[in-house]
Amino acid sequence: MENSTQKFDAKVLSRISTLKMTAMNLVDGLLTGQHRSRHKGSSVEFAEYKDYSPGDEIRHIDWKVAGKTDKYHVKQFEQSTNLKCTVLLDTSGSMGYQSPLNGHSSKMEYASNLVAALSYLLLKQFDAVGLTMFNDQVVEHIPPRSKASHFQHILHGLAHISPQGTTGVADVLAGLAERLPRRSMLILVSDFFTQNQDLQKSLKLLCSRGLEVVLFHVLHPDEIHLPFEGDMVFESLEEDPTLGLDPQDIREEYQKAIQDHINSLKKDCNGLGVDYVFLDTSESLDQALSYYLLKRKSIIKL
């Protein structure tokens, strides 16, 4: 256990703990905080009136307003609830990429730090956090809990990751969509190196089920810039056939292809109202997270 905790940078965890993730909408649950849940319902705190429509409970009709205006209005209240967040971490082979050129941390290491930081943050706010690891199928599932000690379970899960297998995000998401609690939060951390084109469809399904989805797209700078020189033989970390070439010959094409990939993902996310965060492992994690959380805060304030 000690070993696993040592993996996580204490500095990063402490800095993350100072940042508070604020919910975009109204906060569900009993714990009222900066998290706002978008879901409206009955609560002690009045929110607004709404025209009565058949199906609404009669006890929620504000008779005073009905007497004054001769119209039926139903009272609506803002609901403050505990947030349930499930972190989906891609543990496929491609996430295990370790650069031969520089000492940047591997994607898996970087992603693990990210997941730990987010979990710590959420648990500190008394939100329930769960962790699901997958490659082309679910490898391990830690259900969401809000207890502070749950952080240790998550760390334990992260300590035992060994990247392997092919990436099957779309299939895994499609499979999880039914099981994830409605109106919860889903954080998806992956490099999205998959040739499956059904990701958009799966995301759409999740959104339709009222899930708030955040995508963390983690890539190593080598994967973005292809900085290698000379004749190389590329062996796949997943199951693609081995390829021998001079990277110089295709660098331009590759960079264009990876940008297209990123842009396409970003575009899909924007279209679905999904938060997309691109993370380069060369950037420090705290800065990236701070930037994201600040960005979210600013959006909510708007």
Partner: protein, 700 residues
């Protein structure tokens, strides 16, 4: 098709190709292996990328190598030819049998030389292309096929032997030659074995029965030289038939020559008759296409002598079949004049009765002896020059002055046979015929019945050789009652052919001038003996007549084909044969085999005193007498223009590895006029390669 280089030294420049290859290998970057995440994206990018570095570098290397190779080849002055390449030539040591068709059809002209000459040149040139450890042998394919050169690794020896070869007058015998080549290959040292068959594909040489059992696992290269033939064989003298027609005082020689036209048009050709080397007659013939025509010549013979002749047509591509020789012996039958000295009204009592029937037992002359019976009174009507033999049977006295005529007849080569009897006057014979008779007749010697017989001690005389011991025994039992005793003349030489049991001569023979005189010292009828009624009388009389007329040494087979052996039918004397090229050969055995040259072969009898040992004589020995001639001609089947097809050969040599090639004389210095020079196109290609190389470098 083939590509030759006139200055092949520059081909060493091809070694320069190794330079770019070396540079490429030295500058090749080390491949690094890396485990990467987005290989599928790399793969997609590679597919889309226009730049493909690795193939580019290889193409660059190829372009540089090609530029260097083409440049050195351009300097070597390449010459391209559509002719057959010498693909079969091997650089590894080989055992090669050359089957060379030296039949006379290979003597067909091809431009300035014959097909045979072309074949010789071809072999000489081909030898240069074989490695030094190769061995060679040569089989000549004319009949009979023979191994002319056994295995030799020495090319100069082989070429020397090759240069000795001349086209023969024989027919082809491919089957036998292939069989001999296969046998040779069995003793060959090298593993790589091949047969080269150089022939004009004349159909005559490919008889199916000759290929029975002929098979080999080794490849046979067939080179058809008939393709080189520039002119066609227009015609040939196919056959000659000789006949004679007797006129009153002379005879006519009739020569029927069959001439065949091989061309597809009417062929007008001169036809000449030569006798003893002199042109006698000439005719022009219009022979329809692909047909034969028989032309008859008549020539009056004034002398009663053998003749040799030749029929000749105009020259064409194949000279060997344009002439044909023939022998002519004016008389096949011996004309015999039997002078009956004691004719009787009852025929069987006549002196000549038994003699005539013995000489010619049938109405048709089967014995080749034509007897003419004459009484002394009729003798003046007879011309002795019409006869070869005169038999005087029991003649008392010849007409006055006739003895001189008889002497002249014998001196000129005639034969005189004498039979005794009661009419014979010894005084007349001894005085008037003293020049002819080698002995003096003394007196009649009479004995009791059973007291006198022939003493046939040994039968070495040519006349007696045909009699079996049984026949001789029969002859010994014949009773003689009377005979003439004789006494030798001192100045005359004579031989006793047969003796009586009382040690007196029975038959005496003597050469007088060119003729011969034979005396039988008893009667030729039944007056003095029982001989005429014995079965041995007939052959005895015929043999003596033929012997006297020198007809025992007749030549039974006078017109032979090339290669057919000449057989003589007598053992009594040694002969000399003078072949058409003038060489003299002793004929001591019965067979003369060296009949490989067409023409007239003359026979001479060798004098018994001559003891010259060598078989080949420098000149004719003194005293050698001409005894006859025979002619040798080519086998005209070889002249027929039919060629065997590739398919027919494949059927004949079924199961063998055959390759049909067109002969191509390959020279070490190729003639530019026979090919297309490629130096300029090669240089252009070099320029092209350099342009491509530059473009690729710039692109990179």
């Amino acid at each position: 098709m083939s590509l030759n280089f006139s200055t092949p030294l520059f081909l060493f420049g091809l070694l320069g190709v190794s330079l770019p290859v070396l540079i490429h290998l030295l500058t090749r970057r080390q491949q690094k292996q890396i485990r990467f995440s987005a290989v599928y994206l790399l793969s997609q990018s590679k597919k889309r990328s226009i730049r493909k570095s690795r193939p580019n570098r290889l193409l660059l290397l190829l372009a540089r190598c090609l530029a260097i190779a083409l440049f050195s080849m351009a300097l070597a002055n390449p010459i391209f030819s559509f002719r057959q390449s010498e693909a079969f030539l091997s650089t590894s040591p080989s055992s090669i049998v050359f089957i060379l068709d030296d039949s006379y059809s290979m003597g067909t002209r091809a431009k300035d030389k014959t097909l045979f000459d072309s074949a010789l040149v071809y072999i000489s040139e081909t030898l240069k292309n074989f490695s030094d450890n190769s061995e060679f042998s040569m089989v000549l394919a004319s009949s009979p096929a023979r191994v002319e050169q056994d295995w030799t690794p020495d090319k100069s020896t082989f070429i020397g032997r090759l240069e000795e070869q001349v086209v023969s007058y024989r027919a082809t015998h491919i089957g036998d030659a292939v069989g001999k080549a296969i046998k040779l290959l069995e003793s060959a040292k090298q593993k790589n074995k091949q047969i080269f068959l150089l022939t004009d594909m004349d159909k005559n040489g490919w008889k199916e029965e000759t290929f029975f059992g002929v098979t080999t696992p080794y490849p046979i290269q067939l080179l058809n030289f008939s393709q080189l033939q520039s002119d066609s064989n227009k015609g040939m003298v196919k056959s000659i038939k000789i006949s004679q027609e007797f006129l009153t005082r002379s005879r006519l020689l009739r020569v029927k020559a069959e001439i065949k036209n091989f061309s597809s048009t009417v062929n007008r050709m001169p036809l000449s008759l030569f006798l003893e080397g002199k042109l006698m007659k000439e005719e022009f013939l219009d022979i329809p296409p692909r047909q034969s025509l028989i032309q008859e010549f008549s020539y009056p013979l004034r002398r009663n002598q053998p003749l040799n002749g030749k029929i000749q047509i105009s020259d064409d591509a194949l000279p060997a079949d344009n002439s044909r020789y023939f022998p002519f012996h004016p008389s096949q039958n011996i004309q015999v004049l039997v002078v009956d000295g004691d004719p009787e009204a009852i025929s069987h009592q006549s002196e000549s009765f038994y003699l005539e029937r013995a000489l010619n037992p049938f109405s048709v002359s089967l014995s080749h002896i034509d007897p003419t019976i004459s009484t002394l009174a009729e003798l003046s009507l007879r011309n002795l020059s019409d006869f070869s033999v005169v038999i005087l049977a029991n003649v008392r006295e010849l007409p006055s002055g006739y003895e001189l005529e008889l002497e002249k007849f014998v001196l000129n080569g005639g034969a005189l046979l004498l039979g005794m009897g009661d009419q014979v006057d010894p005084k007349y014979f001894n005085e008037r015929l003293g020049n002819l008779l080698p002995v003096r007749l003394e007196s009649q010697y009479q004995v009791k019945e059973g007291a006198l017989h022939l003493l046939l001690k040994n039968s070495t005389h040519p006349v007696m050789q045909v009699f079996s011991p049984k026949a001789l025994e029969e002859m010994r039992r014949i009773n003689f009652y009377s005979m003439y005793t004789v006494q030798a003349r001192e100045d005359k030489k004579f031989k006793v052919g047969t003796w009586f049991s009382n040690q007196h001569p029975a038959v005496i023979e003597s050469e007088v001038g060119k003729g011969i005189v034979v005396m039988f010292l008893s009667s030729l009828d039944r007056d003095w003996n029982d001989f005429p009624i014995q079965p041995t009388y007939l052959p005895w009389v015929q043999r003596w007549t033929q012997y006297a007329a020198r007809g025992l040494d007749n030549i039974p087979q006078q017109d032979l084909l090339v290669g057919e052996p000449f057989r003589k039918n007598t053992l009594d004397s040694r002969w000399i044969v003078r072949s058409p090229d003038g060489n003299l050969h002793k004929l001591e055995n019965e067979v003369f085999n060296d009949t490989f040259q067409p023409g007239v072969y003359r026979l001479f009898s060798l004098p018994s005193t001559d003891t010259a040992e060598p078989n080949l004589l420098a000149k004719l020995p003194q005293g050698a007498q001409p005894v006859g001639t025979f002619t040798v001609n080519i086998d005209t089947r070889e002249s027929e223009p039919g060629k065997i097809s590739q398919k027919e050969i494949e059927n004949l040599l079924e199961g063998m590895k055959l390759e049909f090639l067109e002969p191509q004389i390959q020279s070490t210095q190729p003639n530019t006029s026979e090919g297309i020079p490629l130096a300029t196109p090669f240089l252009l290609m070099v320029a092209g390669m350099l342009l491509i190389e530059g473009w690729m470098v710039r692109k990179e």
